[in-house]
């Protein structure tokens, strides 16, 4: 029998019962207490630019059609026919004015409303037997967008998305709003890994400590201009709202607009993009880069959407190109995760930049990425070990940055321009921040 309160109290001290990374009972609790309620990312508006465009995405076992209707509004509908429960859309993307169930041909408009059913008069007695008005594919209980990111919640009384995002919205702009045009997403690459979904989410939330060793190979081969892995300890780790993330320390700047531009040039942004970034980001957002000297890198928005921003060399001449990726850890079971990995780029960026940035992404992250390859190897191994009996005797130590009494080893950074808390150097602050939210959800009653 699962003793959730004991597990949660261990997790809150930074000692994680190892079996939570492979336990079907924990997975069921996550499904019923966390994913049934939390805001969860599904898609980006740039994936469905035109009326009729749709993608089909899942939250655990639930399949949703994310469509742009004829009026241009984004709709998220449970992909199950009202009549006998067949999936009404079995493609994963496309363009359609209607979705017709293959079983009995009940047909729905792309806003979800039932448009017709065969033999309505003969079989049902027309409107008397079956009033069609108001019949619609089940909408997601709550749906909202931010910077074009489409989120749903299984809770009809979910807090407004913007309230949920809180101070993390500040950091989200670095990945998803570099100009008024916003970002465009390409992909996703999709693949399944035999790893628990939490491990990737925690990693991106703050594990700068793994970079020097796990990713030693990409430094060995000179993929970066500088030995980045060993510079990781210079970065700041932040936590804000439901998110947490990592940064790299940039070379010293003069703390002015020129320096802001220099820092962006240093990581490979072309001059053509910098004025829009300067105009789109707030003074405080610019100050994070220019004055504090930190460039956002990996981050996780609770529960399962992560981000990465990095800048490898994309040719033998040493051209540095930054890329952004969004990735989702879509739980399949306690021991399996589908990874969805998108390449994201400012929609208004010059085409040659988009090309360089895409190549930078492919080399580093995604199904073939040279960083991601070694990450997943670790996560599969952890999950495999967590499934046995001995793992039930082991609490994994996630207390880096705390004294034995549980006090912070060092104070937060005083001159960090971003909201929330930030610390310099290594520490598992972001992972504990993520786990604290996980604990909050698992301590609540199931929805």
């Amino acid at each position: 029998m699962l003793d959730l309160s004991s597990i949660v109290s261990q997790v809150r001290r930074g000692m994680i019962p190892a079996h939570v990374y492979a336990d079907p009972e924990i997975f069921a609790a996550e499904r019923d207490r966390l994913f049934a309620r939390s805001w969860v990312f599904l898609a980006h508006e740039s994936e469905i630019p035109d009326p009729g465009d749709y993608v089909v995405r899942r939250v655990l076992a639930d399949s949703f059609i994310v469509a742009r209707d004829e009026a241009g509004a984004v709709r998220v509908m449970f992909n199950m026919c009202l009549h006998r429960g067949m999936q009404v859309c079995r493609a994963e993307m496309g363009n359609a004015s209607h979705f017709r169930c293959p079983y009995h041909a009940w047909t729905y408009r792309n806003d979800g409303r039932l448009a017709g059913l065969p033999f309505h008069r003969e079989a049902y007695g027309g409107e008397d037997g079956f009033p069609r008005a108001g019949q619609s594919l089940l909408p997601a209980p709550s749906m909202a967008t931010h910077n074009g990111l489409i989120f749903i919640s299984g809770d009809p009384g979910a807090p407004p998305l913007r309230d949920y995002l809180g101070d993390f919205a500040f950091y989200l702009d670095f990945y998803t709003r570099q100009s008024p045009a916003g970002v465009e997403l390409r992909g996703p690459q999709r693949w399944r890994v035999k790893a628990n979904w939490k491990i990737g989410a925690e990693n991106f939330a703050g594990d700068s400590y793994h970079t020097p060793h796990t990713h030693a190979s990409v430094v060995d081969i000179g993929l970066f201009r500088e030995p980045k892995a060993s510079q990781r300890i210079q970065g700041a780790l932040y936590q804000a709202g439901p998110g947490a993330g990592t940064t790299y320390k940039l070379p010293p700047g003069a703390g002015n607009e020129q320096s802001f531009a220099d820092q962006l040039r240093y990581v490979g942004y072309p001059d053509a993009m910098i004025p829009a970034m300067a105009a789109t980001w707030s003074e405080r957002q610019r100050a994070l880069i220019a004055d504090s000297g930190f460039m956002p890198s990996a981050a996780t928005l609770f529960p399962n959407l992560s981000f990465v921003h990095n800048w490898p060399q994309v040719d033998a001449a040493g051209t540095v190109a930054p890329f952004i990726s969004l990735r989702q850890w879509q739980p399949v079971s306690a021991r399996e995760t589908e990874v969805l990995s998108w390449f994201a780029v400012d929609a208004a960026a010059p085409e040659d930049f988009k090309r360089r940035s895409y190549r930078a992404y492919l080399m580093c992250f995604g199904s073939s990425g040279m960083f991601e390859q070694d990450d997943v190897e670790n996560w599969v191994s952890i999950t495999e070990m967590a499934a046995g009996s001995m793992a039930r005797r082991l609490n994994l130590n996630s207390r880096m940055g705390l004294t034995s009494e549980g006090k912070p080893l060092k104070p937060p950074l005083a001159n960090f321009a971003g909201p929330g808390l930030a610390y310099r150097g290594f520490g598992e602050y972001g992972q504990r921040h993520w786990l604290s939210q996980w604990s909050d959800h698992l301590s609540r009653e199931a929805r």
């Binding site: 493609a91 994963e92 363009n95 999709r190 693949w191 060995d220 190549r359 492919l362 199904s367 997943v376």
Partner: protein, 173 residues
């Protein structure tokens, strides 16, 4: 430019193309990646689009602008260099792989160049507890005749899954 019909199986050009693919597979299964790089043209394009599930008649079944691979020689060299380091953990211990190459069809392209279609089944086994992975794909290659023999100028890998079941692509197809 491409002839509509494949060359007869007895055609020396077909035999040379088929042998090229089999020898290439032997290098990959032996993890002789530097040897494999020798088979590539300087201007190689190595592509693997992301396949998607779409309605019949949708007119597309792969993503525009997104692949699993879209590589030039620089990127492929980096991948090979990485596997030779002491820190490429995902392939240390290495996978046991077998590249099965079949259904080879050779077409005349420009001049002495050949377009070669083949079917590939990659078997990949790691460690002692995990299920082995299979990756099934079609490949369309452009083989260029050079003074050193045939060299690969372009490869497009048409993978047969929309969601890969192998943990990463730290392997070449």
């Amino acid at each position: 430019m491409t002839a509509a019909r494949p060359l007869p199986y007895g055609d020396p050009a077909h035999l040379a193309a088929h042998q090229f693919l089999v020898e290439e597979a032997a290098l990959l299964d032996a993890a002789d990646y530097p040897g494999w790089l020798e088979l590539l043209c300087e201007d190689i394009r190595y592509l693997m689009p992301v396949r998607v599930t779409t309605a019949r008649g949708a007119g597309f079944d792969s993503l525009a602008g997104m692949g699993h691979f879209d590589e030039d020689l620089y990127a492929l060299r980096k991948r090979v260099q990485r596997l030779a380091t002491d820190h490429a953990w995902t392939e240390d211990p290495p996978s046991r792989t077998r590249h099965f190459v079949t259904n080879v069809r050779t077409f005349r392209h420009d001049g002495d160049d050949l377009r070669v279609e083949s079917a590939l089944l990659l078997f990949r086994s790691r460690g002692d507890t995990r299920e082995a992975d299979l990756v099934s794909a079609g490949r369309t290659d452009l083989l260029r005749a050079t003074p050193d023999g045939l060299r690969l100028a372009r490869r497009e890998i048409t993978v047969d899954e929309s969601v890969l079941r192998t943990q990463n692509l730290a392997v070449f197809l």
